[in-house]
Amino acid sequence: MSDAIVIGAGIIGASCAHALALAGLSVRVVDAGLPAATAAGMGHLVSLDGNAAELALCSDSLTRWRALAPSLPASGAYHRCGTLWLAENEDDLATADDKRAALAMAGIGSELINPTRLAALEPLLRPGLSGALRVESDAILYAPRVADWLLESVGITLERAQVAALEDQKVYLADGRRLGAQVIVLAAGLQAGALLEGLPIAAKKGHLLITDRYPGRISHQLVELGYGASAHSGQGTSVAFNLQARPTGQLLIGSTRQFDTLDPCVEPALLARMLERARGYLPALGELNAIRAWTGFRAATPDGLPIIGRHPEREGLWLALGHEGLGVTTAPSTAALIRAEVLGEHPPLDPLPYRFERFQASAPAAAEGRR
């Protein structure tokens, strides 16, 4: 019997398991090996400031990633490339300056880059951009490998099995076995919905495309300033420009956002829109050879923040899920919050904005209505 069972071996589950194992707990990680967000996503470590709680989590987490970076294996492909948030006009520049101020409040340094300097930093960007905000501390990594590496820690046993049901301090596997532990951490992303009723998480489909190897052409992670704010904020299908150069020289290009579909097929019309938008920033992309396109599903909550912390009604159950597109960035702080709560330690940052209870606070009336 283990002290803790973590359900889900993606970057969130692996980080939680790693943190609990470092605290001296014996940890069993159960994962069904289903396709999930960690393997599908971009692996970006990026400071987003959609609201104060999101920024606080990013800021704390990026500090933890930087501390961990020297220990990561080379195959983890951690690279502190920095992000350039691209401004297309004066309004974007104002947004960039607001973002600079917000990041500064969270202790994250960034600087406004004028068009001349931007062209020198990234010569393939189209002329005529108004400038950019450069966040030097942002990075990329290869999340599936990093998750596997985290699970190699002493004290962790990885079990390839499907969880069929969840009870208080008990996990039932599809093969009939029953596992028990004082602590169960549910970090199964979208799959968690099948194990626990009432989780407010929904799938947001995304497309990504990767090119052949073209080393030395792009240095930074490039993101349009609308990425966090306007481009992906609505309820409809949207595309926004997001690109990173992988250490192989391959260019990974995103992104799309779709609701109300669980069909994993690549949709050519939407992929075309995404690439057209990317080409609007980097005309040279049109000359390059793409070798693969795929889709994945983000597990999104109604307010865009993850659900981290003890389940208010279930004995011994902790939740670490709903990180949408920011799970790789925020995994270490998610794990630190879970660790602190499990061990009864002082939390590394205010845990309230991430707690499940926020979806229940206004719920009594609604719950009455449903009965």
Binding site: D212, R213, T248, E287, L288, N289, I291
Partner: protein, 78 residues
């Protein structure tokens, strides 16, 4: 007959030959090297597997779905 240049060497082959077939006709069918430097060669032959990426007149192309043209310059990619 069509004359192309493969890695600096002239090859003369019939019209309608694919670049993948030209690679094979050269006596060394490898198209590129992977990240560890191991040779990779055309596999699916129908534009899906992406193994036969070569540089054709300066642009990365799939050898299996490209026909040779007079004066074409083909370079294996590293």
């Amino acid at each position: 007959m069509i004359r192309l240049i493969l890695d600096g060497e002239a090859l003369v082959l019939p019209e309608g030959t694919s670049v993948a077939a030209a690679l094979a006709a050269s006596g060394d069918d490898h198209a590129r090297s992977d990240l560890a430097g191991r040779p990779r060669a055309p596999f699916c032959g129908m534009g899906i597997c992406q193994e036969c990426r070569v540089c054709i007149d300066g642009r990365r192309r799939l050898a299996c779905v490209t026909l040779i043209r007079e004066g074409m310059k083909v370079e294996r990619t590293r």
